[in-house]
């Protein structure tokens, strides 16, 4: 580096090799931001029942900004390699009819994901993606069937009874267990439970509300339902 000229040349080549790469990285990052913005907008578009917590609505200024950011994304779509993509699609070794059917289904699935919609057989796969509120009291309430006998109270959990390794009384699969968990406490589910209990030779389960500690799981109270 004794020669200032060669040092300047080295610096110049370094800058030239470095800057375009940084620019490309910046462009990629910018592109990710623009796509994320578009998906954020589309997933906010339709009302959904998923969330039990009311999400804050973005301000008008924010929405305007997000809509504005769609413009460069749409503008850049001009330069997307549409022809190359079409050629790649056409070159797939899948018969045309099959390719068309499968592509249409994948497209529909993408639309459902983008708009956070669900219409069987398409789904945004949003189960357990909802935002919920944790009770401030630190305790949870849950309804459950219980069996009372010999001064003992036994919780009858549907999903436990649906598990072949842990079931104590019944012989269900997890789908049936899920259904009975879902419809528990309804007259129809009570009748099914009573019938199953009779077959298993145990007293008919009754409904109760359990209150338990969220941290330790310790049961605080168990209140049987009063049926009219």
């Amino acid at each position: 580096m004794s020669n200032p000229l060669s040092a300047a040349r080295a610096l110049r080549s370094l800058v030239l090799s470095y800057v375009p790469q940084r620019v490309r990285t910046f462009q990629t990052l910018l592109y990710v931001v623009l796509v994320a913005n578009a998906v954020d907008l589309s997933t906010s578009w339709l009302p959904t029942f998923f969330d039990t917590v009311e999400l804050t609505r973005p301000s008008r200024a924010m929405t305007a900004l997000q809509l504005t950011l769609l413009a460069p994304l749409l503008w850049s779509a001009r330069r997307w390699p549409w022809r190359r993509l079409a050629r790649l699609w056409a070159d797939l070794p899948i018969p045309f009819a099959s390719r068309a059917i499968l592509s249409a289904i994948v497209f529909m699935q993408l639309v459902h994901v983008a708009f956070r919609m669900e219409s069987y057989p398409f789904s945004s796969v949003a189960m357990f993606s909802n935002v919920v509120e944790i009770p401030a009291t630190g305790s949870y309430r849950n309804n459950s069937y219980v069996i009372c006998r010999d001064n003992q109270v036994e919780l009858v959990r549907m999903l436990r009874e649906a598990n072949p390794y842990f079931a104590r009384h019944f012989d269900w699969d997890y789908k049936a267990g899920w259904l009975l968990r879902m419809y528990k406490g309804t007259p129809a589910a009570d009748a099914v439970m009573a019938e199953a209990a009779r077959s298993a030779g145990i007293p008919a389960p009754t409904m109760a509300t359990i209150t338990y500690d969220a941290g330790s799981g310790r049961v605080r109270s168990l209140v049987p339902w009063k049926r009219p």
Binding site: V39, D40, T43, D51, L55, T56, P58, L92, P93, I94, I101, L102, I105, V106, Q109, L110, V113, R116, E118, S119, Y120, P121, S123, S124, V125, A126, S129, N130, V131, V132, E133, I134, G138, N142, S144, L155, L159, R160, A162, F166, D173, Y174, K175, A176, W178, L179, R181, M182, Y183, T186, A188, A189, A191, V192, I210, Y212, A214, G215, S216, G217
Partner: protein, 308 residues
């Protein structure tokens, strides 16, 4: 980009691999169709849940409700035909139609997303592919000339693509909209999930108490971030399969964790889906010699091991 899904579709496939997938998936469809849950729904409710929507026409829904036993019987027969590979093409379409309609019935009354999310598409791909060229009565009764080897590969790769898409969708659904995703990553939803299903969790059945203090938030925050990372990592399966064992293993572990917290059903689906990731060793020479290929470890891995 030589390993992206489109390029992989052109690689040689294995008729045996596809046949095994056909048999195992049809056996799974058989267990789903014979589940006691479908007749149980009729006893529990008459009206679908208001929060569910379907694209299937109401007339078809009503037909399933009225003729459920008959439809299940037809589906069971079709599944057996697909398993043994008899009249496979026709039986596959019938099985798909029955599976699609009965799972619609199950979803509309249970709001449970399990088998249908994966197997509607898997069964459709089997309908469109030559899955009965091996391990099938059809191949014995009416032997057909072996197809070009990619004909056995693209169905597998397309199913892998769908598997990947399901998990990418799940990851996006957790993160988007962003203002919701930030809250979700905080772990409160996972915490609620663990506490809400506490009495349904094998952890409680085994230990009688939680694994740790469930009122502590940070483990759930870590779990939420890990969940999203695992789900989004499935996107790599679209561009390369070099890490598929790690990704699929992580997904299975994720479902084991979910099952331990109280929601079963996905472990077996992910294990069955992992069958797709067996690496077929079927070369052009195998195809030209009349053999339809067989399953083995990846030549790439083997050569890598030799090299080591």
């Amino acid at each position: 980009m030589n390993d992206w899904i489109g390029a992989r579709c052109r690689l040689p496939g294995s008729a045996l691999h596809l046949a095994i997938i056909r048999i195992v998936f049809a056996m799974h469809a058989l267990t789903v169709l014979t589940s006691p849950s479908l007749p149980l729904i009729r006893r529990l409710s008459d009206e679908p849940l208001l929060s569910t929507h379907t694209m299937l026409p109401p007339a078809l829904e009503q037909l399933v409700i009225r003729r459920l036993d008959l439809i299940i019987a037809v589906g069971v027969i079709a599944a057996v035909f697909v398993i043994v590979g008899l009249a496979t093409r026709t039986a596959s379409w019938i099985l798909l139609a029955v599976f699609l309609s009965t799972q619609n019935y199950f979803f509309r009354f249970s709001l449970f997303h399990d088998d249908w999310l994966y197997f509607n598409f898997y069964l459709l791909v089997l309908c469109l592919s030559r899955s009965a060229d091996r391990l099938a009565l059809d191949a014995l009764i009416r032997p057909r000339p072996a197809a070009a080897s990619p004909a056995y590969r693209w169905p597998v790769e397309v199913m892998i693509g769908w598997f990947s898409l399901v998990y990418i969708s799940a990851g996006i659904a957790k993160l988007m909209p962003l203002r919701k995703g930030v809250l979700w990553l905080g772990g409160s939803s996972l915490q609620h999930f663990a506490v809400h299903f506490y009495f349904d969790s094998p952890i409680y059945w085994l230990l009688g108490h939680p694994l740790f203090d469930y009122s502590t938030r940070w483990p759930f925050c870590v779990g939420a971030v890990a969940t999203v990372l695992i789900e989004l990592s499935a996107g790599l399966l679209l561009v390369t399969r070099t890490a598929d064992a790690w990704i699929v293993g992580a997904i299975i572990l994720l479902h084991v964790g979910v099952a331990l917290l109280g929601i079963p059903g996905f472990v077996q689906i992910s294990i069955l889906s992992s069958l797709l990731f067996l690496r077929p060793r079927s070369s052009v020479t195998a195809a030209s010699s009349g053999s339809s290929g067989h399953i083995a470890r990846s030549p790439t891995r083997r050569s890598a091991r030799r090299g080591a």
